[in-house]
Structure formats: C-alpha cells, structure tokens
C-alpha cells in the first residue's frame, strides 16, 4: 500500500499542476458545469446542453453502497426526485462504477434495480468509464450537484449534514441539497455552496 501511495505521490510531483491523464477535476462553483453526454438505461443520450434553461440535479449512485441505501430505504431520495421532478427540475442519477465493481449493472439489470428501489429520477445515466465522474470530481455515493438554468454549477457536495449510514439520521438532518435548491430557485445566492461529500468511494475503473 505504501509503495503504491509513494508511486502515486511521486507521479503527482513529476507532473506539477495536475496534468495527469484523467486526473480528477474539481469543478468551480459559479463557473459553467462540465459538459457531459451519457446514455441512460434505455439507450437515450442526454447532454447537459440539452437541458439549458432548466434546473439540473446530479446524484452519484451506487445501489450497493450503505450510504445510498440509507437514502433509498428511507424513501428520502425518491421523495426528493419526485418533488423536484414535479417542479420541472431535471434529476439525473449517474452511475460511475466500472464494470465488475460494486454498483455497476448492464442497462437491463440497472432498470430492474431502479424499479426495485423506486428511483424517480428523470433518467439513470451510465458512466462506466468514469469520465463524467472525474470531470465533476465525484468522490462518494451519494454526491450531489446543482446546476442552474444557465448551466452554472451552484452546489457540489454532500446530500446532508449527517455523514452516517443510519436511517435514523435522516430525520433532523440539514439537507444541503434542499437548502441549495430552495435558495437558488428563489434567486438567492446559495449560502453553503460546497460541503465535504460523504459515503462510499465512487468505484472507478482503476
């Protein structure tokens, strides 16, 4: 482990400024959100630019992760998906798990999982190469992003302020996503635009 770490660090030092191929990016709040174009589980392609003029929420998803299960078993995530969907917000669940890793399913199987979990997102997008996850700096599942109708990133971080996998912690938690959406949709600046996301690591391709 230490050797791997040392190699990684050494690699990072030799290439200052982080131009390493496929390095994880850190998107900036207030700047245009990274563009993406991904297929959903039904084979339709969705590009961020298709949704100019709409609010977009991105949710990084891995059904095998206990932190994700916390929000699906409690019905918390589906409730948010449904509520915002009704307000015309486009909600994408994005799966960046690489093939063979936890949370990765072929499109058909993913549909079954979505059904089983009652996912109410506009679409579940498949990012097995992890390129979109890397572009957004998605670190954990769940990891939430809010993009305004002009395509500007307004929130990047945790879903709420209780970094646990306990279902009982949903009640009474401050939901950062709801807070950011409420403020932003009312035309106010987002008071907490970034928080440390919590959860399982996104299961990227090595």
């Amino acid at each position: 482990m230490k050797a791997v770490t040392a190699l990684l660090v050494a690699g990072g030092l030799m290439v200052p400024g982080g131009t390493v191929l496929c390095q994880m990016q850190e998107p900036e709040i207030g700047a245009p959100a990274p563009a993406f174009s991904l297929p959903d589980t039904h084979g339709n392609r969705h590009s961020l630019s298709d949704y100019a003029g709409k609010w977009v929420v991105l949710e990084w998803l891995n059904y095998g992760c206990p932190f994700v299960q916390k929000h699906y078993r409690s019905g918390n995530m589906q409730r948010l998906q449904e509520e915002y969907g009704a307000q015309g917000v486009v909600w994408f669940s994005i799966v960046s798990s690489a093939p063979g890793k936890q949370g990765y399913y072929e499109a058909e199987e993913m549909n079954a999982r979505n059904e089983e979990n009652g996912n109410k997102a506009a679409a579940v997008l498949l990012d097995p190469e992890g390129t979109v996850g890397m572009a957004y700096g998605a670190k954990t599942t769940p990891h939430m992003y809010v993009i305004d109708p002009a395509g500007v990133l307004l929130y990047n971080g945790a879903i709420d302020d209780r970094p646990t996998s306990r279902l009982s912690d949903i009640e009474g938690a401050t939901n950062y996503l709801v807070q950011a959406m409420t403020e932003a949709m009312a035309g106010q600046p987002v008071s907490v635009p970034t928080t440390q996301p919590y959860g399982c690591s996104v299961k990227y391709r090595n």
Partner: protein, 746 residues
Amino acid sequence: MYRISSRPSPGPLKWALWLALAVGGLFTPVFLAAQDDDPSPHSDAWLIPEVTSIQPGAPFTVAVRFQMDPGWHNYWRNAGDSGLPTTIEWDLPDGFHAGEIQWPYPERIVAYPLVDYGYSDEVALLVEITPPADLDIGAMEKLSAHVDWLICERICLPAYADIEVAVPVSREDPEADSAWTELFRQTRDRLPRTVAAWELTAEVTEGGYRLHGEAGSDAPPVPQRVYFFAAEKSVLAHAQPQELTVEEGGFALDLVASPYALQPSTPLRGVLLAEDDRSWARESDAVAMAVDVPVQGAPDPLPDTSAAQSPDAETGNRDGPAQSPQGGFTLAVALLFAFFGGILLNLMPCVFPVLSLKILGAAGQGGADRRSIRNQGLLFGLGVILSFLGLAAALIGLRAGGSQLGWGFQLQSPIFVGVMAALFFAIGLNLMGVFEVGAALTRLGSRPGKPSGHGESLASGVLATVIATPCTAPFMGAALGFALTRSIPETLLIFGFLGLGMALPFAVLSMAPGLLERLPKPGSWMETMRQVLSFPMFATVIWLVWVYGQQTGVGGATYLLTALLLITAAGWMVGRWSRTDLRSGVVARVVSLVALALAAGAVARGSGQQPPLLTVQEDWQTFAPQEVSAAQESGRAVFVDFTAAWCLTCQVNERLVLSTERVMDAFRASQVALLKADWTRQDPLITAALEALGRSGVPVYALYPGRPGADPHILPALLTQEIVLDALAEVISPSSRGALSSSPNP
C-alpha cells in the same frame, strides 16, 4: 482475566431498518437478514482495559481494539475522501467519565483517484476513563460502549458492536495487564506527540497552506518523506501530492486546500508523519508529530462574513484576509496596481483626446466660477469611477451567467467597435468645425469657452473609461485577473481604485487653483487647439476601423467607412444649412437623420460580416490546448501568443519583438512550436486557457519547456527582444530546468 465481550444486541440501526421496511415495503427481508447475521462483517471489536484493577478517582486507559479481515479497513478521525470515522458511545456507571479518543496515526488508503485515511488488519483506539473517588472497594464496575464503524474493502459495509468489560475496584495501585502491555505499547508508539525540537508555523498560500518547521538546536535531520494528515475533513485535498522542501534550518511542506473548504481554516491540526520512519526527536522515537498551529492569513474561524467584509472593504485596509489563498498577489498590492495603472491610463493614445478636451474645456473657463470647475472635475471623476464599477458589474454578471468573458470583452463585439468608431469620428468632425449642434454629441467633448453642464462632465468620464478599457491590459493584466477571482465586493473595490487612479489627474487639476491659471487666457488659439485635437480623434478612428476590419474583414470595414461617409454628409448638411432659414434648416436636419439611420444600418450590416479564414503566418499555428501538450510530448518547447487585434500592446509586441528576424531565428533554431491564440472575437477555449494561467485578458505570453506537463514561463506583458531571448535560453538550456519556479499554477 476479564470477560471480554463482543456480543451484539439489536441497536437503533436495526430498529430503524425494520421501521423503514415496514413503512416502505420496498426491500426484500433476505438482504437485511444477511446483514443481521453479523453486525460487524469482516471485523470485530473488543474493549480492553490496560490495568487489572482500578482505584477510586485514578484515571486509567482502555483500548477499543479492532481486528479486520485482510484487505478490509476502517477509518481515522478524518476518513479522507470517502469513508466514515469510527464512533464510540459510552455507557458507564454513575460518576465515570470518558475522555476523547486518542487516535494512532493512520495509513493512506489509495483507491484511485480517491485517498482515504484509515487502518487495516488491526488497530486500537485509546480512551482515558476517570472513575469517581467514591467507589466501593471490591465491587465490579461494568464499562459498556456502542461502537459504530465503517468496514470497507472495495465495497463498504456499516458495522457496529456493543462491547463491555467488568473491572474490579481495588485499593492497590493498578497493575498493567501483562497480556496487553504489547498492544498498549505499540498503540502508544503510533500516537502523535508534541516535539519541542521543531517550531511549527503555517500560512495560507495560493490554493492551500504551507507548513513550516524550524529546527531547534536539538532537532535531528529532516525526514526524507513526510506526509501531513489533516485532522478535519474539509481542510485539505486528500489525494493531492504534498511537496516537501528541505531548507536551511528546517523544512516547508506545501499542502493543497480542499475543494470543499469555503475559506482557509485555522488552526491547522493533524499529524505530520515521517514516512521513512525517522524520528522527529533525537532522544525518543517520534515518527508522528502532533500539529496544532494557527494559520497566518486565514480568516478567523466562523466569521460573520457580511460584517467582516464591508468595513474592511471601505478602508481598503486589511491585514488578515489580504494574504488570501490567491497568495503573492494580495488585495493591497492589487489596489496599488489598480491605482497607478489608472493614473497611467491618462497617457494612453485612446484616452488622451478625451482628456485633452476636458482640459481645454476647463481652460476655456479660465475666468469662470472656480466652484463650477471643481464640480466638473469631481463629476468627471465620478463618471470614470461609476463606469469602471458598471463595467466590472456587467462582467461579473455575465460571467455568473456562464459567459466566457474577460477584460476588454466589449471590444470583442464588432457592433460596439463600429459604434465607437462612428462616435469618435463625429466628435472629430465637430471639433474640426464641420458642424455645430447643441446636442449631446458635441457636448461630450465639452466645447471650449462655454461652461459645461454636470451631465456632460459625467458623460465624458464614462466615454473616457469605455474607450480606455483595451489599454488597461499591460498594467492591469495580473491585477484584473486577480480581481475576477475575488468576492464581488473586492472585485468592485479593485475596479473602483482603477477608476480613482484614472480620474485623479484631472480632478486634481480642476481643484488646484494655481494650475489652471497657468494656462493661457481664452482666445482664438482655443479654436485652433480644438481643431488640432480632432486629429487624435481621427487617429483613434483609424485604430477602431482596423480592429473592426480584423473582426469583419475588408467587406465589414467598407461598410463602416461608408457609415463614416454618411455621418460626414449628415454633419456637413447640418453645418451648412442649420443657420440659414428655418425651412432649409428643418430639411437639412431631416435629411441628415436619414443619413445617420443609413449609417447605423451600414454598421449593423458590416458587423455581421465574417473575416476571411485566418491566414496565420506560416511559422504560427492556431492555438489549441492539445497542441501544447503534443509538442511538449515530442520534446519541443512551445510559445503561445495570446493576442487580440484590439489590443494595442499585443500589436506593438508582435511587430517590434515577435516578428523580428532575430526572435524568429531563435525560435526556429530551438524548434519552438509557435501558437497564436487570437482573442479578437469571443472564444471560450482561449478564455479558459487564460484563466488557467490566472489571467483574464491579453496580452499573455506563455513559454512552455519541452517536457511533458511542464509549467509555462509567463513573460511580461511588455516584451523586448532580450526578454524573449533570455526566457528562451533558460527554457532550452538543460542546466536551468529547475529555475522555472515563478510559473503560476494552472
């Protein structure tokens, strides 16, 4: 021996799960049952006291010990990018008190591209327990705890255990339990300790922190590999490399701030680990040094941001946040640059005509009311400052809306350039005496001999600013780039100072009574002077037409010149007939309005024209980021010229330096790849590239060494042949490869 138990009992988690199941009915019980079988999958926890008996009132230590299957791990107090720290909820007899968890230093768990901090195989967390003084001797006291942890391999599972142990109370001095002395000793070896041999300090740097260690007289050599584990989560970017610099008498460690930090945090707390197992102290074995230092330049924790910003912003006087994460370029320096840059703007070829008109106007009022002149000076200044603020606000607003814009953005619009050319041309005609109208157009230039109104002074300030913006780049490149990365009040403050500097000379002139009196008395020389001043106006028009031509081609420029002809006709008609009888005066005005409308149409038409495809000179390629890396991969150095037709400095540099035989020969000899990034028109790709270099406008000259990924050397905005040749020599010569340290962070 005491019975050590890891007997699980149904915790709140289980009840919550069942409740959710009953309510939601969404999941198969099979899945839950699988988890219920073992509440602590792939791991187990025990509670172990260090001593065989406890004394009333005497603190003792217990260990919460974890054993994990190979490949599985749990987490430190800061779990890193993902994961979750272990928590302990104590259930102790009355009067017992449990202290904080003492965490052994963790290891880095790399799951590319994430880095977590945790433990694998085995770990013990130590806690000091203080019993009350009134315990019954001989009684057994039961210590219980509910422990939650996350156990991860490639996947993560939540785990918990309810653990307990009973200890006898004795009058005797406690004895260490020999079965566990090794466990406690090894665990304590891993606890971070304060080391007196090093004096630690920390400061905010661009994008992070620098931790300094000053070696005391008894300090051993600096370890060769050092890693800092931040104790709190949203402080550092865990996966970023940490750069160790060993200096005379100490070391510096550069740390990258967390992207989730809203502001630099202070104090900086954590563990500085010598990864090569060298001790930080001579006498004892201390591979992990405790760090808890205030951070210079970080705002106070939990400030009231609204209250903290405005008073400082007004005085422009801040010592704390000025040393911001932007590093070297502090707010104070930016304000200074802005102020002097503003003063220098008065000498710029595009500003000078407007300013000379103002002075002429003031001279014309030589005998006029002093107060009115002073008011004019102030209003002109106000106009300048307000329009700088307005431009900054527009820029902030457009950028917030997602537009990729930079400074001088308005000159990227052909319509704007065309309208400016028409306006300056009309002012020139008016000064020349072709026509006289009492309309706003003439008065922008404030005719001599006539006291001008307040609105005019304000308007001339606005005009001066708008036309001055392209000239700001050489002085202000870095400061404006800095400004646009700051909070909105600070950005506005910097732009305000730029305006203040620009407004100052005329305001001072108008207020100092002695200065204006030195000017000659009004007379016929003023009419001559006025006509002379039309020439810089026409010169400005030539420049604007040239910019317009770069944007729209010869066809577009022809439309603009036609518009200028129509304006001349309109001005001539008004000048020729307005003072004759009423009827022809009216006809002349109507016809001239038609001519002006046609001129407007011509500008609109011309702005839609496209220039012919850019014919870059054969040595220059069109810029694209991948071209830079491609050339670097093949070992070639790269020179990128960020330029725009409307940028005068850029043109001067290109003609006097870059296109000279001497410089081109040097480029060719070293096989430098030459890339031109033309920002004459809006181009998001180039705006992004400029931002990556920390700039918001042109010119920028970036010289990249011919090594993959090497950072560029940024040349000054005003080039000389020597600057370019020296920089080239430095980049090409292999001996100086380490010298390029002044480059910015992309």
